[in-house]
């Protein structure tokens, strides 16, 4: 239970789970004759057998009826899609002003609230609470409420099961297509790859307009295909045009830049990715190693002491900022999406250009998978800084650890400048708690283990608690097994029905019980074991079983931060000893504040 204890789990071998076992040879042969695969250089892929081998394992062919939703806006996808036959429609505008997940953000009525605290022992997780019909009505109503002007038809989602996998489709697409601005994509077009690579939600919805055949390539395959320079260039171009610019604009430092600068930055920036995207699969395994060797195994992005030529902008994933301390490496901080590395050094040289520019003061390492944007120094100093307010520039480095002459001897002890004590910092990093935005933190100096929090949670969730009051422990701090609503929600990758989704307003990730089919994907991919599969039972508590297989019907359950309640997370309010908190661990500041309060 403490950080030291391990999970015995063998490392997943590549391709032992092909995406689609029934992939046929002739299909693959046919595929290879089709663009864009026909244009790839096959020799680049010999290390993985062959291109055909890659396709066999990392791709599959989907046949869609008109109206089938291939990609839904807001979903986290892990695959890119290539149109093979027929045509699809990509909607440039949002079909549902807010994502069509009304139940996720809906508040409960007063009677439902009152009903909640009528104590019931029955751990009855009422499965599929609403029949489909009601679901539609619910959708329609909410969509109708949100959707203005009223003249538009409201796209109604329905779930159907194709080849044992449930799929969402829309009714009368004609009307939808007529009402919403969209553009058709013919054979050979690629879409959805951006979300797959940068692990960001899809920005648009794609429907099958005609009976269509699309090829789904999961991102593992896609990465290999990127070895083909042309293909990579093609993808990066697409990204530069749509994704990158908006990404840059989101960065607060760049918000005053004019269009031309942004475009120039986008054109000059280099996109790089480090490490393995399945970090959550391997970090546990590496957890057994001691911290030093672990840090050394991490793929290095920028090395301390070397000349600071680029400004690194984290696009996805996490990076560890560390430097050598004695024989090991000491973590100073960790960077998440949108944070920068090397800014201080460049700013320093920008402030006094006549001096010799400082090298990187620390080194940047990839924690698992990291996508970075490298912006060359020239552009930064010439274009970027002039348009940035002085006040927003980082403070000058007074006591550099490295200068032109290499290592400075009388460097200050790093502990002074780290916000949290290093061991805690490294604990957070090692447990990947840095991913959490609503991490449940239990202060063991106050917790008496009265389980009031669990009672509260259970009563708010039909008698079943949604977290385990236990977990990794650092001194008096326990990080309980409750969903942290991560910055990088790996659990959302590959949810077939999109039942698990993030509420764009609150950022809360919740599972929609009405669309969850209990496929265990999320539960297994959650690295913190915060998603538990529970058996569905009816009101009397008898468990539900599947008609055909007669197996119990499972459903993924996790903390939904009580977003149905206005009063916030019940567990936190219910704690009689103020021992339980929700804290954003993706950033060190709130943690720091809380700790200072605690000590005071």
């Amino acid at each position: 239970m403490s950080a030291g204890s391990t999970v015995v789990r063998e490392r997943p071998v590549r391709w032992d789970h092909p995406l689609d076992p029934e992939m046929l040879h002739r299909d693959i042969g046919w595929l290879l004759s089709q663009p864009p695969f026909s244009e790839l250089n096959p020799n680049l892929f010999l290390s993985h057998g062959s291109l055909a081998n890659i396709l066999r394992h990392d791709a599959r062919i989907l046949r869609c009826e008109p109206g089938d939703v291939i990609v839904r806006e807001g979903d986290y996808g892990s695959s890119a899609f290539v149109v093979l036959r027929g045509s699809v429609r990509a909607f440039l505008v949002s079909l549902w002003e807010k994502r069509g997940r009304p139940e996720s953000s809906a508040q409960l009525g007063i009677f439902q609230r009152l009903k909640q605290w009528i104590p019931s022992d029955k751990t009855s997780q009422v499965g599929k609470g609403l029949p489909e019909g009601d679901q539609q009505v619910l959708n329609r109503r909410h969509a109708g409420r949100r959707n203005a002007p009223q003249s538009r038809t409201i796209p109604v989602q329905q779930v159907k099961t194709v080849e044992g996998r449930s799929r969402i489709f829309l009714q009368d697409i004609e009307a939808v297509v007529a009402d919403f601005q969209s553009e058709p994509l013919g054979p050979g077009h690629i879409f959805g790859e951006m979300a797959a690579i940068t692990r960001s939600p899809h920005r648009f919805t794609v429907l099958a307009e005609t009976p269509t055949v699309v090829l789904e390539i999961r991102w593992q395959g896609l990465r290999i295909l990127r070895r083909d320079a042309g293909f990579k260039e093609y993808l990066d171009e697409r990204y530069r045009h749509s994704g990158l610019q908006s990404h840059l604009r989101e960065t607060s430092l760049f918000r005053f830049l004019d269009e031309s600068t942004i475009e120039q930055l986008a054109s000059e920036a280099r996109l790089e990715s480090y490490g393995d995207m399945e970090w959550f699969a391997e970090y546990k395994q590496s957890a057994s190693q001691d911290i030093r060797s672990r840090i050394e195994h991490e793929p290095i992005i920028a090395i301390e002491g070397t000349e600071a030529n680029d400004l690194y902008l984290i696009r996805a994933g996490f990076a560890r900022v560390s430097f050598e301390h004695g024989r090991g490496h000491q973590t100073v901080a960790y960077l998440g999406r949108g944070q920068m590395f090397g800014l201080e050094e460049l700013a320093q040289s920008f402030r006094n250009p006549n001096l010799k520019p400082l090298p990187y003061q620390a080194s940047l390492r990839a924690l698992g998978f990291v996508d970075v944007i490298r912006i060359p120094r020239g552009i930064v100093t010439s274009l970027l800084f002039p348009q940035v307010r002085r006040s927003e520039l980082p403070p000058p480095i007074l006591q550099p650890r490295y200068d032109g002459g290499g290592r400075v001897v009388e460097a200050p002890s790093p502990a002074a400048e780290t916000p949290l004590e290093t061991s805690l910092l490294e604990f957070l990093v090692d447990e990947r708690l840095i991913n959490g935005q609503q991490t449940m933190l239990i202060d063991l100096d106050r917790c008496t283990g009265c389980d009031e929090c669990i009672k509260a949670c259970a009563t708010t969730h039909q008698g079943i608690p949604r977290f385990i009051r236990n977990g990794p422990q650092y001194g008096p701090l326990m990080f309980a097994h409750a969903c942290m609503h991560c910055v990088d929600p790996v659990c959302m990758i590959g949810c077939p029905t999109g039942a698990i989704a993030r509420n764009p307003d609150s950022g809360v990730i919740s599972i929609d019980p009405n669309t969850c089919i209990g496929c265990k994907t999320c539960s297994e991919s959650c690295p913190y074991e915060n998603i538990v599969m529970i058996q569905l039972v009816d009101q009397q508590g008898r468990k539900m079983v599947d008609k055909e297989s007669n197996l119990p019907i499972l459903q993924a359950s996790k903390c939904d931060l009580c977003q149905k309640l206005t009063s916030g997370p019940a567990c936190q309010n219910a704690c009689p000893h103020q021992a339980l908190f929700r804290i954003d661990t993706s950033d060190t500041k709130p943690f720091q504040v809380w700790l200072s309060k605690k000590v005071a």
Binding site: T123, I454, K455, A458, G463, P465, R469, G471, V532, M533
Partner: protein, 751 residues
């Protein structure tokens, strides 16, 4: 250890038995049985959690206590099961006394109901509830027994007072009492808290309660309590005794020491002021000075019936015949009519005319016999007197009593207020339904008793004898009856007379002091009344057999112990009282007082009356009050000595005695000497009772009349500071109820 991926639900009543081996059923137990179906590989035996146990315990205890209470409630009318605390001792004894012993004993099943009306019929009024009664049901139940100690309790008004009494009380309150409280009815339990344990004294009332109404709140008796003005307040005294005058004049003259304790110390404590006499007996205090003059005054005796002497000769000159009339009273016009005679004559209309024609002074000597009319009137008078005496001689006491009764009735009719009270007694009596112990109403009234004593005191045979002596045999009209009735008594008379005469002879012989010259002295006294002596001599010679043995009676010789005798010289029937406080004398004086009216002076001018009335003041009111026989009469002495409604000869003397307040009477302020006299420094009465300078009182004579009684107060009022020196919270206590009663009698006559 590794947290296996399943949720713990500690708030379940049961937990999966397999959880102990680390692989619980996915759903956990379903109620008390395993949630898994039989098809599943392994099923568990659910274990009851602590939570489950505590909830089970909660249900059980709740159920048990519910049953307990429900089992208890049916018996709630019955006795002890619901008693919140032990009763005070008195009530406990009352309730738990066995049926046969205690006359108040209450059936076990009705013990609560004895004090709690709601118990009998839920919420409704208790049976026998009176709409007229203001107080609540429970207090009414209290009053069932306490009506005799708290007679006005039913009012529930402040201090049990109503009407003008209440107004008078409110007027005296220093700070105006809020009306709502003044009109509020109080319940007993508001001050007397029961069920506080057997040791609890229900009468200890905290001063806070008093100050509910008495809003002028002060810190303590020593600080802020109103000063004692005119305390002890001047009370009417039936005996006009003036301490100051006695000390300064009389005692000083005889240079005797004037010590309070000789008179006032007593051993009994039934007096409200404790073991101190407010008054002392005649024998103890007054006799040594006052007995002598009283004796000498009594030797004369009272001429109860006396014939006036009429001048037969001059009447005959007028050609009028006086008729039979004793020689001794036939020489000159003299004397006046005895009160009894007057009353008797006045019973008839013609008698009244005759009386009216008599001269104002009532002295017969003033009758002018030359005036024919007056002369006739005189003969007429003589006629009437004779007939009256004849009637009396024939009928005796009944006639006398009838006459007296008519007269008193006349008097009472004259004041209708008294009449009303006299006729209808104790209107205040409690409703019968509430009186558990009912005391019988009196069979005979005070009046009848009084009349009996008055009439019974007069010897009838002497009446006859007097008649014979004066008029000879009764008239023919009543001859038979007369002859028959006369014989026996005369014989008896003779014997008695014999003995009495012997006694006198012995007394003569035995008394050496009676020297011949003293005899001579006496004879001189006799000689001083020459004519009647001669007359008797002549009579005696007339019948020789008695002549030698019977000498004319002399009161001081023959009746030193009092009694009746015929005074031939005065032609009167004389009563000689038996020393102080002679019963018949008191009746006689009371009768006289009733008959007296102010425009007739000299009604009491005889020396004996003077002797009595210089100390005793018997007003008409008091005597009348005597007759009312009402327990709540205005004369406190009745209450003082006797249970109400039980007439006794003693009670008749009440207005002669000094009124001694007793604990039965409740004033607003109470004081007992007993505890104080234990303190050595206070043994000397004068430490508290200072003589007052004789002026500055209500009148110069220092003493004023109230209801025919003299109010005297020669002592200075007490000083609060003096009391407060001891009466502090620390030492002697200063709670309100230490000196004040809440339940008081009629308020007005305390002033």
């Amino acid at each position: 250890m590794e947290p296996t991926k399943y949720y713990r639900s500690p708030h379940q009543a049961y937990r999966c038995g397999l959880a102990n081996v680390g692989r619980p059923c996915p759903n956990g137990p379903l109620g008390r049985r395993c949630g898994q179906s039989q098809s599943d590989p392994e099923t568990c035996y659910p274990i009851r959690t602590l939570y489950g146990w505590s909830r089970l315990g909660a249900w059980i205890t709740t159920l048990f206590s519910l049953l307990f209470v429900l089992a208890l409630l049916p018996t709630w009318k019955k006795k002890s099961s619901l008693v919140p605390g032990a009763l005070s001792m008195a009530h406990a004894q009352l309730l738990h006394g066995t049926e046969d012993h205690s006359r108040f004993s209450i059936k076990e099943s009705e013990r609560c109901a004895a004090c709690h009306p709601n118990v009998q019929t839920m919420g409704s009024k208790p049976e026998g509830h009176l709409a007229s009664v203001k107080i609540g049901g429970q207090s009414q139940l209290c009053m069932r027994c306490h009506i005799h100690t708290i007679p006005n309790g039913y009012e529930g008004s402040p201090h049990d007072l109503t009407g003008e009494d209440l107004q008078e009380l409110l007027a005296t309150v220093a700070y105006p009492t809020p009306k709502k409280i003044a009109n509020q009815t109080t319940e007993c339990s508001q001050c007397h808290r029961e069920h506080q344990g057997s040791g609890e004294n229900l009468q200890t009332i905290s001063s806070e309660r008093c100050q509910a109404c008495h809003r002028k709140q002060f810190e303590s008796f020593s600080k802020g309590h109103p000063d004692l003005e005119n305390y002890p307040e001047a009370r009417p005294r039936s005996i006009a005794f003036d301490h100051g005058r006695h000390r300064d004049l009389h005692f000083a003259k005889k240079n005797a020491t004037f010590d309070c304790r000789t008179c006032h110390l007593s051993t009994s404590e039934n007096s409200v002021v404790g073991n101190v006499f407010r008054s002392v007996t005649f024998e103890q205090a007054c006799a040594q000075c006052h007995l002598e003059p009283l004796r000498s005054a009594m030797e004369e005796g009272i001429a109860v019936i006396q014939l006036p002497s009429l001048d037969r000769r001059r009447l005959e000159q007028q050609g009028l015949s006086l008729g039979p009339w004793p020689e001794a009273a036939s020489q000159i016009m003299d004397g006046k009519l005895a009160p009894l005679l007057i009353e008797w004559i006045a019973t008839t209309t013609e008698g009244r005319e005759v009386l009216n024609r008599l001269p104002r002074s009532g002295q017969l000597r003033d009758v002018d016999l030359n005036d024919r009319a007056q002369a006739e009137n005189v003969t007429h008078l003589a006629e009437l007197i004779r007939s009256q005496l004849q009637q009396l001689a024939i009928e005796g006491q009944p006639y006398l009593r009838r006459n007296l009764e008519n007269q008193t009735a006349k008097y009472l009719e004259a004041n209708p207020k008294r009449m009303a009270k006299y006729v209808s007694q104790d209107t205040q009596a409690p409703p019968s339904s509430f009186a558990t112990v009912s005391i019988d109403a009196p069979r005979e009234t005070m009046l009848s008793l009084w009349l009996n004593q008055m009439a019974g005191g007069v010897p009838p045979d002497m009446l006859r004898l007097a008649y014979e002596n004066w008029y000879g045999k009764p008239a023919e009209g009543s001859n038979r009856l007369a002859t028959r009735t006369i014989k026996q008594p005369t014989r008896g008379r003779y014997t008695r007379w014999q003995s009495s005469s012997d006694a006198t002879d012995e007394s003569l012989l035995l008394e050496p002091s009676k020297s011949p010259d003293s005899l001579l002295q006496d004879s001189d006294d006799l000689l001083s009344l020459p004519k009647p002596l001669d007359q008797t001599k002549a009579e005696n010679s007339a019948n020789p057999n008695t002549a030698r043995s019977i000498r004319p009676l002399k009161a001081w010789e023959h009746l030193p112990y009092g009694g009746w005798f015929l005074d031939e010289t005065r032609v009167a029937m004389v009563y000689v009282p038996q020393g102080h406080a002679d019963t018949w004398l008191t009746r006689w004086l009371e009768w006289k007082t009733l008959q007296s009216n102010d425009e007739e002076p000299g009604w009491f001018d005889d020396s004996l009356s003077k002797q009595c009335l210089q100390c005793h003041s018997v007003g008409k009111d008091r005597i009348a009050g005597l007759f009312e026989g009402n327990p709540r009469t205005k004369d406190p002495s009745l209450v003082a000595f006797h249970p109400p409604d039980s007439p006794s000869s003693q009670q008749l003397n009440a207005c002669w005695r000094i009124y001694q307040r007793s604990t039965a009477e409740r004033a607003l302020t109470r004081f007992s000497h007993t505890p104080h006299l234990t303190i050595p420094t206070l043994r000397d009465c004068q430490t508290c009772h200072h003589f007052q300078a004789q002026k500055g009182s209500r009148d110069p004579a220092f003493g004023w009349s109230q209801q025919g009684m003299i109010v005297h107060h020669e002592f200075e009022s007490m000083q609060r500071s003096h009391c407060a020196s001891c009466h502090t919270k620390q030492s002697a206590g200063d709670s309100c109820t230490q000196c004040h009663n809440y339940h008081v009698d009629l308020f007005s006559h305390k002033h």
